[in-house]
């Protein structure tokens, strides 16, 4: 049960080994944006630059765009062709905030409803966490019950202890993988002590705080406070950055593409921030911007806790970092009135 360790220089070797069984994904900027991309078999430069990806790893489980099935019409009706199952993924370097986000999304796609597309990827995947030693000023994970360098939501957890990473087996899946991964040294007591220290240091580096005590109740009380929400929404430009790139946002749209008698049904990311969201069945009930902003905030901090007993935010800070107008969820939540100002 003792933890293992690996020299940073040997990471490429390790990934190569794992590549024999998995499609290995690592943080990459090759496409022009930081995201989890298929490993090229060589490049481990992410070990130097990687803080977190811009595109969250949820994209590996809920792709921006995926084929659900193809259909063809003939005399007897429609013939449906399902896409083949994808390769088993190993996501190397996922941050604890993003790993927690996957656990949060599970509530919807695994527990409430069994989504076959999501589950085929999720169940076969291995998450190898990498402790976050340099959190951004926009990060507030520690306020959301996440520690930047500790995780129970991954299968294996790596911690930077200088020239080496300490490897902890977190889940059964992780244990099984490690049993097959030979040639690693055992960690010494000194290594364990270094890892413990590194985790604490990382934790203390997260300076942005959010007090979530009673937040769902406060939001419930302020739901009809139009003045408050209009003020909060004033500078929002209704783009989809904070939702599409949120690791816990999972809304999708479904589109058919039909060419003559053949077609494909696609699923792609959608955002409750868009004025045309849910326009397809009828109208968007949230025509005004303040209603959409309220929905986004309340879904994460009021409805999700109500339905699943967990806040749908991990404090990864992407929505703050990437917002073109610096709309800051932590400021917004801190400004929610403590008591109802309207209604009863």
């Amino acid at each position: 049960m003792a933890n293992k360790k690996i020299n940073k220089k040997d990471i490429a070797k390790l990934l190569n080994k794992w590549s024999q069984e998995f499609a290995v994904f690592v943080p990459s900027r090759e496409s022009g944006v930081a995201e989890m991309a298929k490993w090229d078999g060589k490049d481990v430069s992410f070990l130097d630059w990687y803080r977190n990806t811009i595109v969250p790893p949820k994209a590996n489980f809920l792709p921006q765009m995926e084929e659900m099935f193809r259909f063809q019409k003939d005399k007897e009706g429609y013939k449906i062709e399902l896409p083949p199952d994808g390769a088993k993924q190993l996501i190397f370097g996922i941050r604890p905030c993003d790993a927690r986000a996957m656990a949060i999304i599970d509530a919807n796609f695994k527990e409430l409803y069994q989504d076959p597309y999501y589950l085929s990827r999720r169940n076969s995947a291995v998450l190898v966490g990498l402790g976050c030693m340099n959190p951004s000023e926009s990060c507030f994970c520690t306020s959301m019950g996440v520690s930047p360098a500790e995780s129970k939501d991954v299968d294996l957890m790596l911690t930077d202890i200088g020239d080496e990473f300490l490897i902890e087996e977190v889940s059964d899946k992780g244990r099984k993988l490690m049993a097959k991964t030979t040639g690693l040294k055992g960690a010494t007591k000194n290594d364990e002590a270094k890892a413990k220290e590194a985790k604490k240091t990382a934790y203390d580096k997260v300076t942005r705080k959010l007090d979530t005590e009673g937040i769902a109740d406060k939001l419930l009380a302020s739901f009809d406070d139009q003045d408050f929400w209009e003020k909060v929404a004033a500078k929002c430009i209704s783009c989809g950055i904070c939702t599409l790139l949120c690791p816990t946002c999972y809304c999708f749209d479904i589109n058919d593409e039909l060419v003559r008698q053949q077609g494909t049904r696609f699923r792609n990311w959608d955002s409750c921030g868009f004025p045309v969201y849910t326009k397809m069945p009828m109208e968007n009930p949230r025509a005004e911007k303040w209603r959409r902003v309220r929905q986004k905030v309340c879904h994460k901090f009021e409805f999700y806790p109500m339905n699943f007993d967990v806040i749908a935010c991990t404090g990864c800070g992407r929505c703050i970092r990437l917002c073109p107008v610096n709309w800051d969820i932590t400021q917004v939540l801190e400004s929610v009135p403590a008591k109802a100002r309207v209604g009863k």
């Binding site: 022009g32 944006v33 951004s136 500078k235 430009i237 783009c239 599409l244 397809m280 073109p324």
Partner: protein, 321 residues
């Protein structure tokens, strides 16, 4: 920086007075943001909020974007490019001149934090300080000072800016500043132009493959004022809603044509893009094409007819019969 402080004070006083005297219902300006070197739009009716107004090299947003969504008279803080967007909206009858009080900032260029990060090899929140002294920018990292020519860290569109000081204004907050006119501004575009069409196609395939269709480029753009964007039409469906690169390209091409003659090269589309698509390479090229073909620069003259919604009979000669 002293200049900025003075302008700031003047702006705060003026904005407060405008609200107090009921000359405007709203003030739209900038206040300090929640991140290092960030600002954020301040949209307020409250005179006490005017104390928070700021002017500094990080006032990136083109606030003209908010004008079409707001009811009432507005006092708005604009840099040169933004003032052209306001004028362009006036030309398009989207904004009534009398309903806006234009508070002009003579701009000396904005600092592109992306360039700063590349130059220093540090993330923006790891920097201690960034200060501008004329043609120099000093960046302090871990207590050490590094100096760069300002042109190394200003946004491309600022290096190309033709109107740093608003021409249309009610109050100019400082002394006019001259254009920088630095050829570096066009470097990326020139590189693209030297490629073969096949190479260029390859570049745009790669760039647009990462588009996530967040529409931030459209939503930060004051020239994109359509109530409903063509990209969201379903009958007929002009562009497939899922982010396939070909559809992403179609979206950008059509958007570019729609903002031709309205785009003031404020650079917001490129800055807002979360996945780093070099959108200005498209919009600026369109800007130059419009200038070359029609001798037209957007938002320079509020009394000039708008380019694409205006028609002279002789223009049809030889095309329509």
């Amino acid at each position: 920086m002293l200049k900025d402080r003075e302008m700031e004070q003047k702006l705060r006083n003026e904005a407060r007075t405008l609200l107090e005297q009921g000359k405007v219902d709203w003030i739209i300006g900038f206040e300090a943001g929640s991140l290092k070197f960030s600002t954020t739009p301040l949209i307020t009716k409250d005179k006490n909020d005017t104390e928070r107004l700021v002017i500094n090299p990080f006032i990136v947003n083109n606030l003209a974007d908010f004008l079409t969504g707001i009811k009432g008279r507005v006092g708005i803080v604009v840099k040169g490019c933004d003032s052209r967007s306001v004028v362009s909206l006036i030309q398009d009858n989207k904004v009534v001149r009398e309903d806006v009080v234009i508070l002009g900032v003579p701009c000396t260029g904005l600092i592109d934090l992306g360039k700063v990060e590349k130059l220093t090899g540090k993330y923006r929140d790891e920097l201690d300080d960034i200060t501008r002294q004329g043609n120099k920018v000093t960046i302090r990292v871990n207590g050490q000072k590094k100096e760069f020519p300002a042109t190394d860290v200003l946004f491309d569109h600022c290096l190309a800016c033709e109107l740093p000081t608003p021409k249309e204004y009610d109050l100019l907050l400082g002394e006019p500043s001259p254009p920088i006119a630095n050829p570096l501004a066009q470097e990326k575009i020139e590189k693209l132009k030297q490629m073969t069409p096949e190479q260029r196609w390859g570049v745009w395939e790669k760039e647009l493959s990462r588009c996530i269709r967040c529409y931030a480029c459209r939503n930060v753009c004051p020239a994109c004022f359509c109530q409903r964007c063509f990209v969201e039409e379903t009958e007929p469906q002009w562009v497939f809603p899922a982010p396939r690169w070909q559809d992403n390209l179609m979206f950008q091409i059509i958007r570019n044509i729609h903002v031709a003659g309205r785009c003031t090269d404020c650079g917001e589309c490129e800055r807002a893009c979360p996945v780093n698509i070099p959108l200005r390479s498209l919009t600026r090229e369109m800007y130059d094409i419009v200038d070359e073909l029609f001798q037209f620069k957007a938002g320079m003259d509020k009394d000039a007819p708008p380019l694409l919604t205006h028609y002279e009979e002789e223009e049809a000669e030889g095309i329509f019969r």
